[in-house]
């Protein structure tokens, strides 16, 4: 027994080293695979406060940019509003007798609620990029919700604390987004291959589909994370490789991740119902 203690004492540095490394590997594996309950991350209260302080300073240098983005968004929204107003003037069905028409078409009730959030930490140059947002459970944000900006898809919420949340950016090696090409509804999967933060790949588009440079890629809406038709980007190059049965398509992302200031968290009020139905039917969600 004494020999054992002597042995342990002699190699204590090495043993502690091994123990700490095992702990680190455990943390890496757990954090990368396990959604939810991770306490030590940038959604933590104190960490969030430091990051918010930092972005409070750096945000001043981006005010001009933020302003122009918001103004542009306002213009688009106003344009849409005008269209709706005109349509409602022409279309008078809602005024007709309710005995002939079902007034409450449940599909028309928009099931998505948006929570606006400020980006207080952001990266674009790492292999696995993440965002920290200054919204949390107090604002109704929950893990697994989608994150969009005014001009396109951004990512997905990973962990949430009371006032902060972290999100996996689209620029993450394990992030997959179900997308489609707008003009012919061809399904594909958006994946970021690393490197340039302005381009991603659109995988699994079969070779018979006709494509052109500049085609718009939007979300498919096949999962509950993003609504259908949110902009992802435009096709910047299409290549046919001899040994593959799918196109190699590069997509220029609509969102400039280096300039993100404000984003919206998509709260799908019908997620639970739909997921339960699909689970009961034995259908696995097409993304994790």
């Amino acid at each position: 027994m004494r020999n054992l203690f002597a042995f342990i004492y002699r190699f204590r540095a090495f043993l502690v080293f091994v123990l700490l490394e095992v702990l680190c590997v455990f943390l890496i594996v757990r954090y990368n695979t396990y959604q939810g309950a991770a306490f030590f991350n940038s959604a933590n209260k104190y960490v969030g406060e430091v990051l918010e302080f930092q972005s409070g300073i750096t945000d001043y240098f981006r005010l001009a940019n933020v302003n122009s983005t918001l103004a542009r968004e306002n213009a688009v929204l106003r344009q849409e509003l005008l269209q709706y107003r005109r349509a409602s003037l022409i279309d008078s069905t809602s005024n007709l007798d309710t005995t002939f028409f079902a007034v409450t078409d449940t599909l028309k009730a928009y099931p998505f609620v948006l929570h606006a959030g400020r980006v207080i930490n952001n990266s674009v140059r790492r292999t696995n990029n993440t965002l920290t947002l200054a919204v949390g459970t107090a604002d109704g944000v929950e893990p697994g919700m989608g994150v969009i900006a005014s001009n396109g898809v951004v990512g997905r919420i990973k962990t949430v604390s009371k006032n902060y949340s972290t999100a996996t950016s689209l620029l993450h090696s394990q992030m997959l987004i179900s997308a489609k090409i707008k003009k012919n509804n061809t399904m594909g999967t958006i994946k970021w291959a690393g490197g340039d933060y302005r381009t991603a790949l659109l995988d699994y588009v079969p070779l018979h589909v006709k494509l052109a440079k500049g085609d718009t890629v939007v979300t498919s809406g096949f999962n509950t994370v993003f609504p259908e038709g949110i902009m992802v980007g435009t096709i910047s190059s299409v290549a046919k490789e001899p040994d593959k049965s799918f196109f190699t398509i590069k997509v220029k992302l609509a969102v400039d991740f280096a300039q993100l200031s404000y984003v919206y968290v998509v709260d799908n009020r019908k997620t639970a119902e739909r997921e339960k139905l699909e689970q009961n039917a034995g259908i696995l969600p097409n993304e994790e």
Partner: protein
């Protein structure tokens, strides 16, 4: 030889971690050159420091950076590895007549050759660990190697500048 950590080292810890999180996070050269300046805290610790303490300090500093970077465990693992290898490297680099009482990690005191060998070897180990753990796989090795080399140069140059600016030839250590 000073072997325990003093106020100086605690200040350095706060300073380097703050520098890392607030400034260096935004300072990346060509998307490949990263500056992990917090490593300087481990490099500048007393030469004769207890090995166990060094390991725990390595874990602590790596873990702190991990929390802010959302890379749970990666920087901690690399820092612990570096902390483990530091005494071995110091042994290898022992001057002809052993370390002096007043010796500390200081470019003026220990000479340029010793300092460069010490710094760049440990930086190479640390950065290689970080970038390979980040990728996990060995695909795209060239890109990863390029990242490692450029980042080691970047961090190394910053550390040398810090030494020349803030570490006077006369006093043993000053932050």
């Amino acid at each position: 030889m000073k072997s325990s950590i003093g106020l100086n080292n605690i200040l350095q810890f706060l300073l380097f971690v703050a520098l890392q999180i607030l400034l260096m996070d935004n300072l990346v050269l060509y998307s490949t050159g990263f500056c992990y300046i917090y490593v300087a805290f481990l490099l500048f610790l007393p030469i004769n420091i207890n090995r166990l303490l060094l390991l725990f300090l390595g874990f602590l500093v790596g873990f702190t950076v991990d929390i802010f970077y959302d890379t749970m465990g990666i920087h901690a693992a690399a820092s612990v590895l570096m902390a483990f290898l530091r005494p071995l490297l110091l042994n290898l680099l022992t001057p002809r007549d052993g370390y002096d009482i007043s010796d500390s990690v200081n470019i003026h005191k220990m000479g340029k050759g010793w300092f460069l060998a010490y710094t760049f070897t440990l930086l190479l180990i640390h950065h290689a660990a970080v970038f390979f753990l980040e990728r996990i796989s060995f695909d795209d090795v060239l890109q990863t190697l390029l990242k490692i080399v450029l980042s080691v140069l970047f961090t190394g140059v910053v550390i040398i500048i810090l030494q020349l600016l803030f570490f006077s030839p006369k006093r043993t250590s000053r932050a």
